[in-house]
Amino acid sequence: MWRYVIKRVLLALLILLGVSALIYLLSMLMPADYIDNQTSAALANGSMTQDDVNRLKELYGLADKSFGGIIKSYYSWLISTLSGDLGFSFLYGKPVTEVISDYVWLSFLIALISFVLQTVIAIPMGIKAAVRQYGVYDYTVSVFAMIGTALPSFFLSALLMNVLSIKLGLFPLQGLTSATIVFAKDAHLEIFLDKAWHLVLPITVLTVLGVGGTMRFTRTNMLEVLNSDYIRTARAKGLSENTVVYKHAFRNTMIPLITSLSGMLPGLFGGAMITETVFAIPGIGYMALRATQQGDIPFIMGYNMFLAILTVSGMLISDLMYMVVDPRVKLS
């Protein structure tokens, strides 16, 4: 078992190395004058010197575009990345790691709430749809789930804003705090509620977009389980249909569900670029989109590495979870 774990971890590291190389290559696509443009202001006001700029160019492989030069600069970038230094963001004037740790929590909170909502809504719906396969409930739920996955986030956001914020005035349009209300310093509860109020729509959008996938995944797995021999055995024992479905079938469906859902957990830290931007919620996704549009190379590379680490650890977690939840894997 430990050998398997070690093998998976090594594989994950190898993939990360590959991803880092690809991301590094990407940054090289940026034209060399990009850094000049971006740093001209900093140069002018004296916060950076020409030496700093040259060092940056070197670090991101923009100074020496020969093969040897690229390898050399990739190596030095990799070493500094491994030591936890993701570079210094031009746009935010802070180390990239600091920007990430400042803004990631809000994104995580939003993502976590919508993840919990999604799971709680989608799993029972998926089970019920599978039990009534080809019934009215199944068709309705499946169609709505598919519409949810077909909606672009920005379009759903615009619709909700138009109806719920502008026409009905139920929710604030954008931002995290109300600019027009002045809160007393110690009115923590009010401030909290105000922020929560601003987060309702973005969370709704993320939930609607995510429910469909989980619901269909649950349904497919449940259908497979319901057609298996041991479910017929359970019925032959005289168990009621509810016990058959919610005890015997559900426990089996939980295996793939837990594996895939736990693999999604690290991704919750990644931020929702589009939704956060549309609602002007200052999460990590919003910051990253701005950085991308402004060509903030250190931040872009740091953020993408961060996302890649999240994805790879998600894969790793779901592999390991599979061993934990499935009794058939544990001993072999």
Binding site: L151, P152, F155, A288, L289, Q293, I300, Y303
Partner: protein, 353 residues
């Protein structure tokens, strides 16, 4: 003599038995079976109708519009109309009470015309006819998605086929590359690529679309490669491959003439479902101004007009500018998923009870 008789009798029996098989078993080609199962599902038919509608709208629509009205994708219409502008402000007067100040003025606007008999959906902020642009937007979206999916499939078949067939270190190498690409965060990387492409001045704006397709392909081919590899690993163990092997055909022939065709059902399904995904990616990039470059029309950039950070006016008052584009995206993506699901059920009826 007696033996002879028995033989005759036996032959008679056989003939009868054969004719009875023909009577009793319906001979249907697999393609026809699939088509029948597909058309039996209401959702698949609905999806097919949706896609046919979008295709007619996007490819025949512009022809009709050009013919009847002579409208072009980037033709500017200046329609003068008088618009009331009301602005309000609260202020506290000298008496300490709050008053609201109304300022009403009239201006002449030439753009953002409301729907009319000449312009069914009105004109947008640049004076373009919205309906016409919806059609051209659909044309480019569909074209991009089909080209990207075809490219993805070709690349995926080649790499997946090689990995699955040769196994060992070839498989290891290819699959690690696939893993690496699959772990790239797609939207952020696409953004970086598009931003880089649009910042490189040597690339003319009208060529940017090709680079866009290339980057979408780059992010999507791994799925196909995995499917093909998995299927080939499975098929390699089948008896008919052993049979093919004994005839001594070349490995390439084996992969691409015997193994790959057997992965087609799976590939068709994944390609159909993938079409919707590409449309979503493309419209997201266009929404952010990094996809199809202005002044070419794209559904995503039409919805971007409603972006509240550019002011609420269009979001609140001009749904005719952005809602139709959104609906078209949903209809197209949904149509492709219905068809994809229907095809999967039709190809593999095991899931159907």
């Amino acid at each position: 003599m007696q033996n002879d008789n028995i033989e005759k009798h036996d032959m008679g029996m056989n003939n009868e038995a054969e004719s009875s098989i023909e009577e009793n078993f319906r001979v249907i080609s697999p393609g026809r079976m699939v088509a029948k199962r597909f058309f039996k599902s209401k959702l698949s038919v609905a999806g097919l109708l949706m896609i046919i509608f979008v295709f007619l709208f996007s490819f025949i629509g512009p022809v009709i519009v050009n013919h009847t009205w002579g409208y072009q994708e980037t033709q500017v219409f200046k329609i003068e109309r008088i618009s009331d502008m009301v602005s309000t402000a609260d202020f506290i007067a000298a008496d300490g009470r709050t008053y609201t100040y109304y300022d009403k003025s009239q201006t002449v606007v030439v753009f953002k015309a409301p729907p009319s008999s000449e312009h069914w959906l009105g004109t947008d902020t640049s004076g373009f006819d919205i309906l016409t642009r919806l059609m051209y937007g659909g044309r480019i979206s569909l074209a991009i998605s089909f080209i990207v999916i075809i490219l993805e499939t070709i690349i995926g078949i080649i790499f997946g086929g090689l990995a699955g067939y040769f196994g060992k270190w070839v498989d290891q190498l290819i699959m690690r590359v696939v893993d690496t690409f699959a772990c790239l965060p797609s939207i952020p990387i696409l953004l970086v690529l598009s931003a880089a492409i649009s910042s490189i001045e040597s690339i003319p704006a009208e060529h940017r679309i090709y680079y866009l397709m290339a980057s979408l392909t780059l992010m999507g081919w791994t799925g196909v490669a995995r499917i093909v590899r998995g299927q080939i690993l499975m098929l390699r163990e089948q008896e008919y491959m052993m049979a093919a092997e004994t005839t001594g055909i070349s490995p390439l022939n084996k992969i691409f003439r015997h193994l790959v065709p057997n992965t087609m059902p799976q590939l068709i399904v994944s390609a159909t479902l993938g079409l919707g995904g590409v449309i979503l990616y493309e419209s997201t990039l266009s929404y952010l101004g990094l996809g199809v470059p202005f002044p070419r029309a794209a559904w995503g950039s039409m919805i971007a007009l409603a972006d509240p950070s550019r002011g609420q006016e269009i979001l609140a008052n001009y749904p005719n500018m952005w809602v139709p584009a959104g609906i078209l995206i949903v209809v197209t993506v949904l149509g492709f998923s219905f068809i994809g699901d229907g095809l999967r059920d039709a190809f593999d009826p095991r899931m159907k009870r």
